[in-house]
């Protein structure tokens, strides 16, 4: 007979990226102290200033407490049980040419749909898009970056941050921590002390990056945390579109992912940053899964700069992340488009901060939260107009969709306005996929799984429109897979 929404909820979705790569790794014993910080820094032959920067961050972190204000619940993380560095042994000497990369690693990325050979290079979770450069980060190190020569012709720098420390040390020193300082928050401080790798991008003045850039993050080793650090600098009048994808094996224990992403857009520059986050979400009983505690922030540093965050979040046991924009340049623009889907026992507390400092700055927030199973999905956002932000504007739209009646949706919008000559608009809706809607679809021949996916895709349309084309298709498919639990 026919299934009701409630009956459809509960089965386990299939997590296709949940396999483990058997590869010999060099992994530090669990625990964190100054020696570990020095070890990581030495491993990468870092200059003295950076070692000290890390040690400062470690001291700051030690004096901070983990934040507890988010609407998520989990036992305290045992930071001494985590290993802070793991790298495939074959990569011990750092990234080499692609021919020298361990074939087992190449197979891992192929299995994930990300072959690293340039002639068939695909990006992130994107399939069939040849014109994307990829940086692949495996546990703590970057193992390959494609299309670097072609990018170099345009003057674009795209490499692991561990390499940029040497090749573009002045830029790294100038901008590292300039948007997310060491003491910004507990997890940012931790990341600053132990960050292992990540991507570095520099787009010179007036250059439009000739292809999409993409980083693919993969956690493999057991009991390790991943602490990547991404720094993107778009010099005056330049333009770049950057994609990020993430997966991890299915493991019973929780794993910590505490990344920091810093974006700097100078005058008239534009950065478009898209994320498809599909970390392992844990099983249907909430066992295992990634704790995704990430700090992402962009600075519109000059006039008419623009930063746009688009995220599709389907993975992780717990998500705690607020990609934000500081609108310092006059007439600068910040955007945040988000789809967050939670199923089973997943918890998400995500949103954005738009900090208006410059005149005539404007920001747009479109957030779509979908909850099903027994999950909890929270939007948390801050819009702040400082006294200097005359004629600033914000538009916020916050929609929640519930599937079944055992999940929750929550909205915490904060507005701080110290500028009378500004405009804030806020719209919010909550709706539910009803048995009547499902039956109406079924009566027209559409099976319930397809019906839920159609309704959810319709709900997310405004955000998917913002994703690069191939990414939008993949995001739609990813939602379908993540909804499998919800649709039997």
């Amino acid at each position: 007979m026919t299934q009701s929404v409630d009956e459809l909820v509960g089965a386990n979705a299939e997590y296709e990226a949940g396999f483990v790569t058997q590869i010999e790794s060099e992994t530090l014993p669990p625990g964190l102290d100054p020696e570990v910080v020095k070890f990581i820094s030495a491993k990468k032959n870092e200059p003295e200033w950076l070692t000290q920067w890390r040690l400062d961050a470690y001291e700051i972190w030690r004096q901070m407490d983990a934040p507890e204000w988010a609407h998520v619940h989990f036992p305290p993380v045992e930071f001494d049980a985590i290993s802070y560095y793991s790298a495939p042994k074959s990569q011990a000497d750092g990234p080499q040419s692609l021919d020298e990369v361990d074939p087992e690693l190449l197979r891992t990325y192929e299995k994930l749909g990300i072959p690293l050979h340039e002639q068939e290079a695909l990006a992130g979770v994107v399939k069939s898009s040849p014109n994307v450069a990829v940086d692949a980060v495996f546990d703590s190190v970057s193992i390959a970056t494609t299309f670097r020569d072609k990018l170099a012709e345009a003057g674009v720098v795209f490499c692991p941050i561990s390499e940029a420390v040497h090749s573009h040390g002045d830029l790294v020193q100038k901008y590292l921590g300039s948007v997310v300082p060491q003491r910004d928050n507990f997890y940012a401080a931790l990341n600053s002390a132990v960050f292992s790798d990540g991507s570095f991008v520099y787009i010179p003045k007036g250059v439009r990056c000739p292809m999409e850039l993409s980083t693919y993050f993969r956690i493999n080793e057991r009991n390790t945390g991943q602490f990547e650090r991404t720094l993107i600098i778009a010099d005056e009048g330049s333009h770049v579109s950057y994609l990020e994808g993430c997966t991890a094996p299915m493991r019973d224990e929780n794993q910590l992912h505490a990344a920091v992403v810093e974006l700097v857009a100078l005058g008239d520059a534009e950065i478009k940053y898209s994320t498809v986050q599909n970390w392992y979400p844990g099983d249907e009983n909430g066992k295992g899964g990634i704790y995704n505690f990430v700090t992402k922030r962009g600075l519109c540093g000059g006039p008419r700069a623009k930063i746009s965050w688009t995220q599709v979040e389907t993975g992780s046991a717990i998500t705690w992340k607020y990609p934000s924009v500081i609108l310092r340049g006059d007439h600068s623009v910040g955007e945040f488009y988000s789809v967050a889907l939670t199923n089973n026992l997943q918890q998400a507390d995500t949103g954005t901060k738009m900090i208006h400092l410059g005149k005539n700055t404007s920001s747009t927030i479109i957030s779509k939260g979908i909850s099903t199973g027994r999950s909890q999905n929270t939007y948390r956002g801050l819009v702040r107009f400082s006294p200097t932000a005359s004629a600033a504007r914000n538009f916020t739209q916050c929609d929640s969709l519930l599937i079944g009646d055992t999940c929750g949706a929550h909205t915490f919008p904060y507005i701080e306005n110290k500028q009378p000559n500004s405009v804030v608009e806020h719209e919010a809706t909550t709706s539910k996929v009803s048995d009547d809607q499902l039956f109406a679809c079924q009566q027209r021949g559409i099976d319930p799984e397809k019906a839920v996916s159609m309704i959810v895709n319709g709900f997310c349309k405004e955000v998917f429109r913002e994703l690069p084309m191939e990414f939008a298709v993949e995001a739609g498919k990813l939602l379908e897979v993540s909804l499998e639990g919800a649709v039997g």
Partner: protein, 247 residues
């Protein structure tokens, strides 16, 4: 082969018995009207046939083109050619009418081993139907029934019926809430649909609709079973005398 053969049907909704031994045979080319007082089980009958969740068959048989429908999922009944025009069509925000109609057409084609309709021909057909039902073609871009008036929602149901060309169309109080102009448009749609190969079951409370759609048979339902059957004149008699003399 009959289109529908229902024998001694018993059904309940949330433990409340509603149908108590209903029997009905519908042959190709026929239009049946099912009338009766509020709470007699008219809408329940239509929804049990379509397989709405929560409507449980406790006894009896329902054969649709000789197949026992109780064993089929609601969407399988639909693609087999059983159509229910809803009394209260729901809104599905975010899913455009065009997208919804295409998904419905594709599901039917897929289930019946046919090729998906060509997109251009499909759009042309939908536009023609919309115009014949006095629906502004702009409605196709809007969410399913989103912001539609009661009359527009009912006309949208008729449009779906004409598009999907079912073997059996169940119209659940399609006339309720319609003004006289909309009623005529809907009736015209149903008359256009009638053919020797399909059948229509009209569930209605009022005789009014039958002025425009002439039924071959009229049945009166009371306490979950048919208590009287006749031709069109029965409907006129009910209009004059009410239901009390039958129950």
């Amino acid at each position: 082969m009959s289109v529908l053969e229902v024998n001694n049907l018993h059904a309940r909704v949330e433990d409340q018995p509603i149908l108590n031994g209903l029997s009905l045979t519908v042959n190709p080319g026929e239009v049946h009207a099912i009338m009766g007082p509020n709470g007699s089980g008219k809408s329940t009958f239509a929804n049990v046939l379509a397989g709405r969740p929560g409507y449980e068959v406790t006894d009896g048989t329902m054969l649709f083109r000789d197949a026992p429908v109780a064993d089929m999922e609601a969407h399988e009944r639909a693609t087999a050619g059983l159509f229910l025009a809803f009394q209260y069509p729901v809104e599905i925000p975010g899913v455009s009418n065009m997208e919804f109609l295409k998904a419905a057409m594709d599901s039917h084609a897929h289930a019946n081993g046919q090729e998906q309709p060509n997109a251009a021909a499909f759009i042309k057909r939908v536009r023609e139907l919309a115009s014949s039902l006095d629906l502004n073609p702009e409605f196709l871009k809007r969410g399913v029934n989103e912001g539609f008036s009661g009359g527009e929602k009912k006309r949208n149901e008729i449009l779906q019926m004409l598009l999907l060309e079912p073997t059996l169309a169940l119209l659940d109080e399609t006339d309720s809430g319609l003004d006289i102009d909309a009623l005529q448009v809907v009736a015209q749609g149903v008359n256009q649909f009638r053919s020797a190969n399909n059948a229509v079951v009209l569930v209605t409370h009022y005789q009014r609709l039958l002025d425009y759609i002439e039924p071959d048979f009229v049945h009166v339902l009371a306490n979950g079973k048919i208590v009287q059957s006749g031709d069109k004149s029965l409907a006129l008699e009910l209009e004059a005398k009410g239901y009390a003399w039958l129950t």
